[in-house]
Amino acid sequence: MENFTPLSALAGGVLIGAAASILLWLNGRIAGISGIVGGLLAPVRDDTGWRALFVLGLILGAVLYRTMGGPLQTIEIETSPILLIAGGLLVGFGTRMGGGCTSGHGVCGLARLSPRSLVATVVFMLSAGVTVAVVRHLLGTTG
């Protein structure tokens, strides 16, 4: 556990929670990223601008962090294009089929005590944990 970063994790989490609360308070919308992005793929009149701006803000927020000299200046990511594409397809398909992702079900749904979000969050956490266990320890590719 030498990489444990509790303070930055908590601070970042509080910001994420504040962002989701503000979006609900001001616009009445759930800050589920897969839902917001998914809505851009089938544009509905007068329902596109805020989605595009929210996503733009997501990127700008991370850009702002880097320009202000935040400690995380590089990220470490899988390099195989085939694995990246497979992972992307599964994440895109699964989040739309399951009606949400880590933000929509995990942060917003659990706050509303939604039974659907509780089930979805437990299932995708378990599924992701099993996947990492299989890739890292059963197939033994890394770590």
């Binding site: 929670g17 609360s21 308070w25 009445g28 793929l41 880590t102 995708f124």
Partner: protein, 137 residues
């Protein structure tokens, strides 16, 4: 769409993106270390969700007591309560992809800030997967 709603969405997005970067949720290696419970486990990201839920758990309750959002006529909040195969199946599929790469949709978007081709491969496929789910529904 009013300018106020658009600015609110942009502002909320910036805060959200800052949170993803500060918490390091935007770093796939960090996410995979959190999911790797049987390995050299890094529990940090449990605190990201904990910190977020501490805020939304209280704020959502207060906000949803109001008759309507500040810049809108009604809250757009899901009303379904049933658990079906699509929900569980979708969560399983999402989890496999998340565990494979360490990116979920929010961090995948925010990772563009790091200017890596890997993000683009992932994002392109993610959008294609979303479109496929829509078509097959």
């Amino acid at each position: 769409m009013s300018p106020a709603r658009n600015m609110a969405a942009l502002g909320a997005g910036v805060l959200f993106g800052l949170g993803l970067a500060i918490s390091q949720m935007v770093n796939p290696a960090k996410v995979l270390a959190f999911l790797d419970v049987g390995g050299n486990w890094d529990p940090s990201l449990a605190l990201v969700m904990g910190g977020a839920l501490a805020v939304t758990g209280v704020a959502f309750r207060l906000v949803l007591k109001r008759p309507r959002p500040m810049f809108g006529d009604a809250f757009a909040v899901p009303t379904r309560g049933d658990v079906d195969g699509r929900l569980v199946g979708g969560a399983i599929v999402f989890g496999v992809g998340w565990g494979l790469i360490g990116l979920c949709p929010g961090p995948a978007m925010a990772s563009i800030a790091y200017g890596m081709a890997e993000s683009v491969y992932f994002l392109g496929a993610m959008l294609a997967g979303m479109a496929a789910a829509r078509i097959l529904r």
